[in-house]
Symmetry: C2
Subunit: 193 residues, 2 copies
Amino acid sequence: METTNIPGYAYGQVNRSPVTLAELELLKQTVLFSAADVAALAQAGQVLAPQTDAILDVWYGFVGAHPYLLRYFSLHGQPDGAYLARVRARFGQWIIDLCTKPYDQAWLDYQHEIGLRHTTAKKNLTDGAQAEPLIHLRYLTTFIVPLTATIKPFLQNGGSSTDEVEAMHAAWFKAVTLTATLWSYPYVKEGQF
Amino acid sequence: METTNIPGYAYGQVNRSPVTLAELELLKQTVLFSAADVAALAQAGQVLAPQTDAILDVWYGFVGAHPYLLRYFSLHGQPDGAYLARVRARFGQWIIDLCTKPYDQAWLDYQHEIGLRHTTAKKNLTDGAQAEPLIHLRYLTTFIVPLTATIKPFLQNGGSSTDEVEAMHAAWFKAVTLTATLWSYPYVKEGQF
């Protein structure tokens, strides 16, 4: 995928995260993240990359079927189609990045940027969107479940063994939880993250 | 389990949650929670109840093996044994309640109380503990993974079929994510939960 052509995708060009690499290391330990997960995610990246559009169809179908979710892409009940399309391209890149990027300073910084783009600090700005000014935190956390549950059939499409699918799925769950946690930073009262 | 003998366990006797039942219903939809999950959790409750102590041994072993987690039960590096013991009894009851209680107003209210007891608002008060005044939110969210991953062997101990174990595990994951979400409320800036 040619990442530089994705509007608003600014990986490697954003401000530093307030979370340190040392703190990230402890979060990785807490979600039981190991070298085996890095390898399983690399394999998942290969399996998922050609299916990105189909995955996004499922996720956008889920959002579109639930007005209380679609509202975050809407203003006064009117969805912003251009906004939905621009976010979709970055969401697809997020799948690949989650599986293949090293979880280093640049990755950490970009997780914070993604978090900010869900809040009043930066939502809609990147895309000039006409939409609600904030996605409530409760949906970032609860989305861990649909993002984890719906990925399994796609992991099973790659011709991998059952054990490999289980390993990829477990690693994906850890990675999604890690990012949802990092994305929550801008929502939290000072000193309580 | 005789719940009334658990120190600090105040189910049904706490203040009203700021989250409404209508909002809870949308969170349940977001984690794909269905009537089948209620049934699977009821079965899980029967499987897990006699294993509560063994489960808590695993979870306390995890916390005890990580100084950055044990510190939340400690002050100036000194763990508070009485606090650890009192929390353990309630944590065991939480396993049972998560599986067997209806997710009604009383349940919703108690999730908020549990959230508050992780923050400066109420931490240590219930138990007269000598410990850090706050558990950082990032560990509530990341704990979704170890609480979900470590429960599976215990679900497998009940003589249930593979499909039943998968259903119980999926329902447990949804329930844990739902509670972690509700527990985050007191940490979040006004209007952003």
